[in-house]
């Protein structure tokens, strides 16, 4: 029971991160720091480096765990041509990222609401997995 309470509190705190800075002033602040949520730390240069070392191409499937609104998986998929599965727990993050992901990747992207510790995915399915600031 305690686990369930803790888990739902954790999910709520993740959801909250995506509900902050949604005002006009909040968007201005976010645009000055690259348009990311203020908790995201992966720069464009770092995402480009991630794409260069992922060793994938258009025939491959990439999994982004803890993807939030789709960063940095969307850039890696765009640069490499790989198809992307973008996974995260907060539905709010998936909702906010959906349109942008569709614009960037069209049918080559799927979003899944799920926990990276118990993925609803079969064995040996992906050519690469990326994650940014999920383990911290």
């Amino acid at each position: 029971m305690n686990d369930l309470v803790h888990r739902s509190a954790t999910i709520r705190s993740y959801e909250d991160r995506y509900l902050r800075f949604r005002t006009k002033a909040g968007f201005a602040f976010r645009s000055e720091i690259g348009g990311v949520i203020p908790n995201g730390w992966t720069t464009i240069e770092q995402a480009e480096w991630m794409a260069s070392v992922a060793a994938i191409s258009e025939d491959d499937l990439l999994l982004d765990i803890g993807a939030g609104r789709g960063w940095p998986g969307s850039l890696i998929a765009k640069e490499t041509g790989a198809r992307l599965v973008s996974v995260d727990v907060p539905l709010e993050a998936l909702r906010q990222g959906a349109e942008d992901l569709r614009e960037k990747l069209g049918p080559r992207v799927s979003q899944v609401c799920g926990d990276g510790r118990i993925l609803p995915i079969g064995d040996a399915h992906f050519s690469a997995v990326c994650q940014a600031d999920v383990l911290c």
Partner: protein, 125 residues
């Protein structure tokens, strides 16, 4: 989570991770301070390199991104400063103060050598 990454990856598939972690070689008191100043969900299980290796990967690349992280933290604090009045009006004092304190604490931890940001590539073995 890393074992789950290994499970869903094909053999020789790549894991590309970027994360904030506690710096290596710290004593108990410094580790406690890193945890106190670091992000809420800072991992305490050991160096990322070891965790990745223990989860069925061969570590093929490791990069230290701590300086980039320090610059990002300064950028966030400057952006908070520049938008302070508008943010306080629109988002509230509590949120602005909390965000500022979190970032200032993380910057302090980086400057004291308690936190680092690491990028790592593992190959599924």
């Amino acid at each position: 989570m890393l074992r789950e990454c290994r499970r869903v990856l094909k053999r020789d598939g790549r894991l590309v991770v970027v994360t904030i972690e506690i710096a290596e070689g710290l004593g108990a008191a410094q580790r406690a301070r890193a945890t106190e100043l670091g992000p809420e969900d800072l991992g305490t299980g050991g160096p990322l390199r070891d965790l990745v290796a223990q989860s069925g990967f061969e570590v093929v690349i490791e990069r230290n991104l701590t300086e980039d992280f320090r610059v990002s933290l300064l950028d966030r604090l400057n952006a908070l400063d520049q938008n302070d009045a508008e943010l306080r009006c629109a988002e509230g004092h509590e949120l602005v103060d909390t965000e500022r304190e979190k970032r200032a604490n993380m910057l302090k931890a980086v400057q004291e050598g308690l936190l680092r940001r690491t990028a790592l590539v593992g190959r599924a073995s």
